[in-house]
């Protein structure tokens, strides 16, 4: 069961890893076009800004097909790609969006794997027909019909309900929602919880709801800055190895590589995580109240000007970083004398040691 879950996660992560550069490229083109052409750029035909906007908006229509194809590729290897692209495009067409694309991808992937198993023992003479004719045709035909008639509809209904819910939230629940999204995103610095939140926020972003994405970005951009604030306030509480790690936080933090916080969090797990969750959470709540939105899933400080209400975003980021920094500076213990060395390799005595017992040798067939 655990094995199965790990595999599902791997497939979805493969999809995300293919999707990120696509959304960055297309999303930024759209954002730039709005900066140079104003908010009505998408109807200003013939202008340069309009052309840039078209590049971006055409790119965005590929997001769901690409994530569907990439997940299907992860499950079923190359034969998954073609039906995956088509099923993903269907999801865009019927407005089943991102969630539909992921569900469709698993449908395609496992169906193609099943077809491969069935066709394994066909005679040598028609072996070539399996990947070039049978699998693409049957997988596309069957999964496409299923998507249109069966699987797609409940997902479309669910997406509508979710959109309406998010649109109709009042300020109190907006703050709680923002606190949850940003707080969770700031829990494990690029780890599985952060990635799950990303998946949720990216999905909504692709479907045109931009506020949760801004909350997620806050949860990724605040922790490195919070660490720096804490370091400025309480330099003496950091070990030599930690100081080295803090140095990396500025450039990496600006680029939104929140992983730079991990070495510090490993050393002092709950204090760093607690202060990060509180700082990010409050910033996220504020961001929801101020209506900050982001149409790009990655890119760090450089993409902030493209946001909806960038000034609000910066305010939230500063507030969150200060809260996290002050909290961490207060919480952190003074150093003991023998504590000032650390090899940084992570040894079995580490507090968060992972379970190594399940590791075994496998053969690749």
């Amino acid at each position: 069961m655990k094995q199965q879950l790990t595999m599902v996660k791997k497939h979805v992560m493969t999809g995300i890893s293919f999707m990120i550069p696509l959304v960055v490229g297309a999303g930024l083109c759209m954002a730039i076009s709005i900066i140079i052409g104003g908010p009505n750029v998408s109807t200003a035909e013939g202008t340069f800004a309009y052309t840039v906007n078209r590049i971006g908006s055409l790119g965005m229509t590929l997001v769901v097909p690409v994530i569907t194809a990439a997940i299907a590729y992860s499950i079923a290897d190359r034969p998954g790609v073609a039906p995956g692209l088509i099923i993903g495009l269907i999801c865009t067409e019927i407005k089943a969006g991102f969630i539909g694309g992921i569900v469709g991808a698993f449908l395609v992937g496992y169906f193609v794997n099943w077809l491969k198993k069935i066709f394994r023992n066909v005679p040598e003479s028609i072996k070539g027909l399996v990947p070039i004719l049978l699998i693409p045709l049957i997988a596309t035909f069957v999964c496409g019909l299923l998507m249109f008639y069966v699987v797609g509809q409940p997902i479309v209904a669910f997406m509508d309900a979710l959109t309406n819910f998010l649109m109709s939230m009042q300020s109190g629940s907006k703050f709680v929602f923002g606190f949850l999204v940003s707080g969770l995103a700031g829990t494990d610095f690029g780890g599985p919880i952060n990635k799950s939140v990303s998946l949720f926020a990216n999905g909504l972003m692709v479907d045109g709801i931009l506020e949760p994405e801004a909350c997620k970005l806050l949860g990724c951009m605040i922790p490195p800055m919070g660490i720096i604030v804490a370091y400025i306030l309480a330099r003496k509480k950091f070990t030599k190895a930690e100081k080295e790690a803090v140095k990396a936080c500025l450039p990496m933090g600006i680029c939104m590589i929140t992983e730079c916080v991990i070495p510090l969090a490993m050393n002092d797990l709950w204090r760093v995580v607690l202060s990060s969750v509180v700082g990010c959470g409050i910033a996220g709540g504020l961001s929801m109240l101020m209506g900050v939105g982001a149409s790009v899933p990655h890119g760090g400080w450089f993409v902030i000007p493209t946001f909806q209400n960038p000034v609000g975003y910066v305010i939230c980021m500063v507030v969150g970083s200060l809260i996290m920094g002050v909290l961490l500076a207060v919480l952190k213990r003074p150093l003991k004398e023998d504590e000032d060395s650390l090899d940084g390799l992570g040894t079995s005595s580490g507090k968060a040691a992972v379970n190594l017992d399940d590791i075994k040798i496998e053969e690749i067939g």
């Binding site: 890893s17 990120i20 590729y73 390799l345 580490g350 040691a353 992972v354 040798i361 067939g365």
Partner: protein
Amino acid sequence: MNIVGITACPTGIAHTYITKKKLIQAAESRGHHCRVETQGTIGVEDELTPQEIADADVVILAVDVKIHGEERFKGKPVIRITTETVMQNAVGLIQKVESLIKK
């Protein structure tokens, strides 16, 4: 031991490379020779040669996503883990691999 490995993470810009560094450091601290290929968002870097793979005693795949070229390791003992495992306990992992390979 001769260890070869591949690292790959979802975003493909940070964990992939930190994991590579930690894996090599940990392996060398235990006296092994270690070569690691990365498959980040930029694509394959430091690609393992067929000779290196042939000479390897064990293959460590520290990957969170699907990777290219897994079929190169056919017939080799392969250890498949996530980048998380290496991040948290690289030395422990190498010790565990030692005990598995000796058996």
